[in-house]
Subunit: 262 residues, 3 copies
């Protein structure tokens, strides 16, 4: 863990993989069950529909096992912690693990609340396929600043993939670090853009065995769609519908042409 991060994956293959996974998501109508925060529910559902998938959003504890087991992947976002979600989250994770469904953790604002930091840590013990977070959230969880080395060490010690999103996205597992440079600043001016994009990470993880490649491919797709949308939009208001349109129409060739992964 003291040596420099190295990558044994071929980063240049990610754009083509992203196109292939997007086409399979559409063809197979991948189902994602998302336990997500109140402000992200509608946009998460609309992002999954625009990508060609099928969302469900139930947070009722007695319904979550049925919905999780009929889905292809699970997203757990900690942005809203009401009593239903606090009970539903561990049940959903247990169901996903029992049925060998991939699941993804998004510890929103974990730096702001001891309650959710504790819950996020207990979720991490369930070994999510991917932990998607920003630098502040990572620092709260790892108790150190986010660097390529620290996220790789964290990924290794927790048996997960860390997808650290920012101006450049860093995606690490125990042995590799990938960088995705696509995206646009307007994506930070729309609430739940990151939360909703994480649903695509979950969908891709259902289609591809390498969670680090699946995560990088999903972040590439949202980044390229964001760039296309920013070109169409006049600001953050028109950016959001333009983003869904771009995702709906996105084709593999554009991903290969525009993708910047290293």
């Amino acid at each position: 863990m003291t040596s420099a991060p190295t990558s044994i994956l071929d980063a240049s293959s990610v754009p083509a993989l992203a196109g292939s996974l997007l086409e399979r998501l559409r063809a197979e109508r991948i189902r994602v069950h998302a336990i997500t925060n109140a402000a992200a529910q509608t946009f998460t559902a609309n992002l999954l529909l625009a990508a060609g998938g099928i969302p469900s959003l139930t947070v009722a504890p007695d319904e979550v096992p049925a919905f999780t087991s009929r889905s292809d992947a699970l997203l757990v976002n900690l942005g809203t912690l009401d009593s239903d979600r606090r009970t539903a989250v561990p049940e959903a994770i247990a169901t996903a693990r029992t049925h060998a469904k991939p699941w993804v953790l998004d510890p929103v604002f974990v730096e702001a609340s001891p309650t959710r930091l504790k819950l996020a840590r207990s979720c991490l013990a369930g070994e999510p396929h991917v932990l998607r977070c920003n630098a502040a959230e990572f620092a709260a969880l790892a108790e150190e600043d986010a660097t390529p080395g620290s996220i790789q060490a964290f990924a290794k010690s927790h048996g997960t993939v860390v997808a650290l999103t920012g101006a450049v996205d860093l995606i690490a597992d125990a042995n590799n670090v990938l960088c995705v440079e696509n995206g646009h600043p307007l994506m930070t001016c729309v609430t739940a853009m990151g939360c909703a994009g994480t649903a695509l990470v979950a969908a891709f993880a259902a289609l591809h065995g390498s969670a680090i490649e699946a995560a990088a491919a999903a972040l590439l797709v949202t980044g390229v769609a964001g760039e296309i949308a920013a070109h169409q939009a006049n600001g953050p208001g028109t950016f959001q519908p333009a983003f869904l349109d771009a995702l709906f129409h996105l084709d593999p060739e554009t991903l290969v042409t525009c993708g910047r992964v290293s």
Copy 2:
């Protein structure tokens, strides 16, 4: 129930009726109280506002009787089942029945959860003016596939109107089956489009004594607005604002010209 479904209504009158009801909805500022799922609340409110009505959305059990009794109609959508809604739904239905307000049931994803199947059945005992569902939801409730004959039989035995939405909408009561062919595939790429459209069914049921005609007219309005919006939109993102604009400007002449009801 073994004979072929027959219609004693004049289907050709539905487009003109739809225009008349839409104008009255705007003039009378019809109020709909919607107990609906978390992902549908905002769009349901915006659809009712764009149509000229006044939405309210409270799900607090101790507030639901007051909000229901001051509204003209009630929508009950089972897509989110938290503890407040489980308590509020039967109270709202009882209030609507006591005050002779029309009410409409939307049993979202009832095929996916035994909990909501049971709740949906108990709601049905309260004889909704209209049951709005898709083919999978109908099949779970009726324990048989949706056909013109089976939905008519179900409507008769449950004392309701069945509005089965799909590529073609089928609306049946004990004696009639109407088909509404308007709509556009992009409507299935936006979350809560069906849920929100059901609020218009409730509003029209407050204005017109024949629930089957009111339901067909409301589905016609949403279908025509969807066609106009699809013509303007570049994908599912821009479709949603275009749909609200189209509904806001929709006039009776367009409904008569574009309506396809049989």
Copy 3:
């Protein structure tokens, strides 16, 4: 309280103040914690982001003190009253008062429910910096119709600023009444426009010691953004993204040119 309302403020300075506060909001990335209704959460967050601020939305009682104390201002909107919010609201208000953070009360639909009328009255005892309401809500709280005189008397007796929104907004404290004439009828055709705009009142109250001027400046900003958006939009659907775009790009010169305050 029987004399005619008089203003000792210089209304003509409000447009320049609004521009200055908007620029500071962007530069200082003002944080607003919003306990708001389910239908308003997403739009409130997007409005604050478009204005340059940072929203948080948690309603979990055990998290609200941490989120409130790290924010610059608090918004309390009573539109959704679930058990979490009923517990969280007094805790958030107490935290804001302890930390001397400005807070704003929006008693949505208080005229429709005895439960929330009672809660709104107990919130008012916590002396919000601003009470934002419409005429029906004011009448329920004050037990008299809204007039410049009655809102000023209410503001004086409750130690608050009353911001009464409508075709013309009236903003009163014990000694002053300001009128903001900017705005557009399409703003009433989009749900949560008023709720979300109140978050900007809270943000401006964090930046400026005079709550009446901060409230008037915030309503001026939303009114001018609404006018610009209405010029771009084809109806209430396209109005909402156009509003966020307009707010994102709004500059001090436009506020001075277009502002109508007296």
